[in-house]
Symmetry: C2
Subunit: 363 residues, 2 copies
Amino acid sequence: MKATQYVKIDGKFQMHRGGYLESPSIAYETWGKKHTDCNAILIFTGLSPSAHASSSTKDPKSGWWEDMIGSGLPLDTDKYFIICVNSLGSCFGSTGPASIDPISGKPYKLNFPVLSLEDVAKGGYEVIKSLGLKKVHTIIGCSMGGMSALSFCIQFPEISERLISISSSARALPFSIAIRSLQREMIRRDIKWLEGNYDPNDPPIEGPRLARKLGMITYRSAEEWEARFARERNTLEYKDGDQFYGDFAVESYLQSQAERFTGQFDANCYLYLSRASDLFDFNENGGSLAKACEKLKLKASLVIGVKSDFLFPIHQQEELAKNLGRVIKNSSFIALDCIKGHDSFLVEMDAFRPVISDFLESQ
Amino acid sequence: MKATQYVKIDGKFQMHRGGYLESPSIAYETWGKKHTDCNAILIFTGLSPSAHASSSTKDPKSGWWEDMIGSGLPLDTDKYFIICVNSLGSCFGSTGPASIDPISGKPYKLNFPVLSLEDVAKGGYEVIKSLGLKKVHTIIGCSMGGMSALSFCIQFPEISERLISISSSARALPFSIAIRSLQREMIRRDIKWLEGNYDPNDPPIEGPRLARKLGMITYRSAEEWEARFARERNTLEYKDGDQFYGDFAVESYLQSQAERFTGQFDANCYLYLSRASDLFDFNENGGSLAKACEKLKLKASLVIGVKSDFLFPIHQQEELAKNLGRVIKNSSFIALDCIKGHDSFLVEMDAFRPVISDFLESQ
């Protein structure tokens, strides 16, 4: 985490749905150089990534958007000053439920106030302010981060010049809420969750693993798995005599994916960010999506979606693009044919790179 | 269960994947009268229903296909002799993991041999044989039952005259396997499951409830829930101070649906039937779907699917229909526009009734 920087917010940070945090911190990383003219690109992440979107000399470990950020890449570090923030409420440096509450001297756990993506957006603003930036060239948000980005643009319209929303939406569908609600229930039914009071050294593992498996099911697509696994079998050794599990390659894939994630993400932080994704509703800014969009002062916008995404389905993204298009002259919508579902923006770089390049180059 | 009848199979019942059951029983119900000419319709159910598909004088309680079976309805009891079987391995009268093993005198539990839908089909055959029927006018299978019906038609080609496959497929996709694998894991992670050795009076409840919620998510569609719930909120009383659950109407709907199911279905039976659904592969009969279909001797077939079904997606059903059409002259495929997903055949009767009526009347 050598590349991680922090902004410590002085005093009380008021939360959107009530309550406050005392002097919270926001973690972020940057790549490229700040120019006197507006060259900053601010990235809001999905639910689980850290601010480490790409490697750098300070931290050579690959980031979650390694093939998007760098010299000669779409988010070109020779031109732009790229900033990625770790969401408030997360557990990778920003203040969240696993952090120490300076007032009590103990971890917040469930005493953390209700988290909203409006708060996550405000966390991003604190980073921008601390860097002395008056304008941001482009705000980018992926998945949940697209909702944080929308909130940023409406809370700070004078700062936000352009928006790129990737595989996101203006508000969650009941189908997506149902899935996240069930994931939270899986975590909370884990006997080690202890109403949020688990020992950080002995945290719930099984519940989060189940939740991650459901996550993976919703992040990919049936089409991809049919092409990749079909009905491929595992060896009998993998099954290990278990008659209800392990015959199929797709089962061992899910297991290994879930194990990679397990223990990486604090369970309470997950619960807060997951619920914040359900609660966010951009339409609350005026009563409808059309009215909310009218309050934006963007020069340009780009909405990118993937047709095989069923967590943030393409029709929602098309609707967002249409409403942005009513008020923003330079507005576009791209529906990609990628088969890797919601996760495509992380793994189908050849499809996403040209779209983002074209948008930035045309500005 | 006054309407339930039983056929007791004499001696050893060999299971498709090895092992045997000693003198198992198959539960079934019938409606209408058996004629000397072939007028029998045999129904194989989805994973969870009993043989009680419709009410009768002996059992006036509504059945799971109440609006399909009866005088003047598509499955017309004035014309047809309707038979619905409870799947072998289930817990509504047919022998299953919750039944007493006559050899040990104790419940089978996980000593029940691996269940296959080929065995379920054979159970249906035992009912047909005991009723003295040489031919069956039409075999109908819904969801998992469609796979049992395909197996019946290929195991007993001389008996099977027509097939109606509803919202089913020739074999499961890896996406559907992944969902069922996760459901089984939820059940088995329940501390009360006890490796299958739970007390029937104190069975696992929470795991099956989570599994049922995931079931409901996959049985319906995002489109239906958007129309039905959108972002409708519950009262604060429903939330009961819970910050991670209960804000949205879709969450209370899932909870009430899951509670209706909980305790109704034996957990081990669910695990066996769920795994049987994954394992079934009609293509094994010859190496491909085309070759398997060539072995059928049907006079007519009808495949009905629903475009919003993502557990048994329409493209799989179209593929089945296409392959049946290569060898069966009177073969048709209907893709319905219902928005209630996989469950449509249970709840969108106005869409399904005319399709089934037309098929039977044209014979």
